[in-house]
Symmetry: C4
């Protein structure tokens, strides 16, 4: 009975299980929220690891994030290949997501953006460090990914496994890595956490630049940052609910 | 007749009298206005002293301020304990409000925020001073609360009476105290006044930073500040009505 | 026949003629536009000289400019006294308008504001000069009114004729005068022109501060400014119509 | 049969063929988008070369860009003369567009603006250079047009062929030329590309100024810029669709 076999293989093979529809809704919200909050413009992308298969992740087709709907979400494997794209075009830089999920079992969600206030830090080589408890996840400061060290003069994009693995190595165990002349990649253990981190990375950059113009900055120490980050992780749903409320109902 | 005794004790015991419903409406407006004007993001809180019991204050349950309604307002005693929370979670940092109401009989309303333009001043140790008459309440300049002096390396939060009392001591008789790596606490003699002060503290910080980049600043002298602040106190309902009009009808 | 005498005196006495209702509408739009464009917050005021009586000017009662309607406009004489206020409160600083209309026959409209980007220039004593043709009306640069030179340590407000006359003297034949620790006063030959000037004074201040941080500025020369200002005066209705369209229909 | 002759001459004479109505819609969108994105205020203009006659271009009548509709689009010849204006007033500076279309066969669309963040660069003589891949079209950096070198002390406007030709010469083969004390002119091979370039020129200026305040900037090298610009050209419809969606349906 092929019909039954089909069902049974669907059950036994986690690779064919559909993700929780709530996870997809949250991913759509993440796209819209990051655009609404100024982290994304027409570019940037956010993904989440599949809840039923750790070797898959979910990421929109090539589209401006503010326009993403549930119907645009594609399942990718850890090579970055979309499995259900049909004739829909994937993002050029999906390799970033794949490499981070391969390198970091703790990471469940990834944001890549050209978040404006981060660019001046990337091009001057000044690390982001936490100016207040809200951005405590920045810990001891961000690393910088310099694509020239990997591949010389390029189009700046992370368009293959080699570059993506080098970026994941720059990220190390951190929450954020800056990319010179390009933007940043931010990781988290859930969609609400990675969205929180992406938004407060942008805010920290803005405030750190203002503070640097005023005088010598007392940053959070690593101990303060570690303690404050632990508290914030328990508060991450408060802003998430507010940011969702600003978006309203999604279709 | 226990029924009558109940009524009589309700009348004679001010601790059980309900606050004026207009006071609660104003507190809801204050939450929404401070979010609308950029003093609050998903975090920050504003309280008011109970109009019928000076040993109580009103403060929302743990919620993003933009989402607060009258049904979310909890009554707290001066230990910061909520009296009618049921299963609703209070704010972690309610101790700030309790300590200020204990220390300052003149204070009727308190705002604690991470108002963005204040952060660079807190982390560089530069006091806010009034650049114009609108922020004359800053007087001779703000003090800075450095939590390390009280408790070493912490999670930066005011989570007990000891820290809250130290913060209230830093505030002294001022309207505003900056908190390094955290934000600020602002006090006033009414909800409209504390909202006015919180908004113009943010504005003063923005303008003071711009002025510092241009040249040497002539601040308001203490005498000018004292005189101008007295005049502004008589004008505080003008912006309050405008800010309320931007919010519209609350539910 | 007293009835006929009444009619005849109304006709012959220009002081009792009602202003053109279009002028009042334009004044209401000016209030709303300057709030919408960020020149006004809850404070600031704009007036226009009466079209039928050069010794009168029109100015709202004491109200946030964004909330002004035709019913709030009061007629003032050149002493700054409102003639038809009834129990409505006039602005404290109406003397500014009166003094400028007395001193400058060419002036038909006056804006007084705390336009944010101007404050840093006032407190550092750096004159505004035109960075581009749009703000050519700034000519050779702004004067600074220092209230301490007139009256020592005050509440910063222009609350009498003496201070207002001193301010008008600082203004001289210019379009704009900065007021240290307070704001600015801007004048024009019509409502659309004074609104244009107030908006582009704010913009010039913002751009001049940015340019000063980058390097040495080549300002418009006085000859360039004079020529460009003449052209702009012929274009002033283009932005006026746009700014009105943003406000929509007024009641 | 004059009727038939009329038809036949319409067909054979490309100068009388109407432009594609989609091109006109796109030009209306370009006007509205550039106002919505802060490149235009009440001033600035965008044109497109006629799709059926390379010696014509389409440009609105003298109007604030946010208010432009299809009915306001005029056809101009390469002398800058409007052919179908009737009693409608053309833009004073239409000569800019005419000169660029004469000088650059590759150019299909032109934006002239007073884009705010560009002004500080023009007046300090600091070239814009690409801080990230999004503005890679800036290549090796912008030239500066100094009108004084051409015509001494003027009203700053490009009001004749001589000035417009000099401006086109400053532009050379670049995408952007800065104009001291005035603004900039940006060119592209399509409406979506020129709109993309105008928006990211503004963004680059903002970020370059911030970066210059922080430290020494590593700009994209010319090779990086060339490669990245080629990739972006293939992505230009993604932001275009988003920016159109923000405007909604045009009338």
């Amino acid at each position: 009975m092929p019909g039954l076999r089909g069902i049974s293989s669907q059950i036994s093979d986690p690779s064919s299980a559909a993700p929780d529809s709530k996870l997809i809704d949250d991913l759509v919200y993440a796209n819209r929220i990051l655009a609404d909050q100024g982290v994304f413009d027409a570019f940037g992308h956010v993904s989440v690891r599949h809840d039923k298969n750790l070797n898959r992740f979910l990421l929109s087709r090539n589209l401006a994030p503010a326009l993403v709907t549930a119907r645009d979400i594609l399942t990718h494997d850890l090579d970055g290949d979309p499995l259900d794209a049909g004739d829909r075009k994937p993002y050029l830089e999906r390799f970033i997501h794949a490499a981070v999920y391969r390198a970091r079992a703790d990471v469940k969600a990834v944001v890549h953006s050209h978040s404006p206030s981060l660019i001046p830090f990337g091009v001057t080589g000044i690390p982001l460090r936490p100016v207040y408890h809200m951005s405590a996840f920045l810990g001891g400061g961000t690393s910088l990914f310099e694509i020239r060290h990997e591949a010389g003069m390029t189009d700046m994009l992370i368009r293959d496994h080699k570059l993506a693995d080098a970026l994941a190595k720059s990220l190390g165990e951190d929450a954020v890595v800056l990319m010179r002349g390009h933007g940043a990649t931010v990781v988290g253990n859930s969609i609400p956490q990675v969205v929180y981190r992406a938004i407060y990375t942008e805010m920290n950059a803005r405030l750190q630049a203002q503070a640097a113009a005023l005088g010598t900055i007392t940053f959070l120490s690593v101990e303060e940052a570690t303690k404050a980050a632990a508290v914030n992780d328990g508060q991450v749903l408060r802003p998430w609910e507010l940011w969702k409320a600003r978006i309203g109902k999604i279709d």
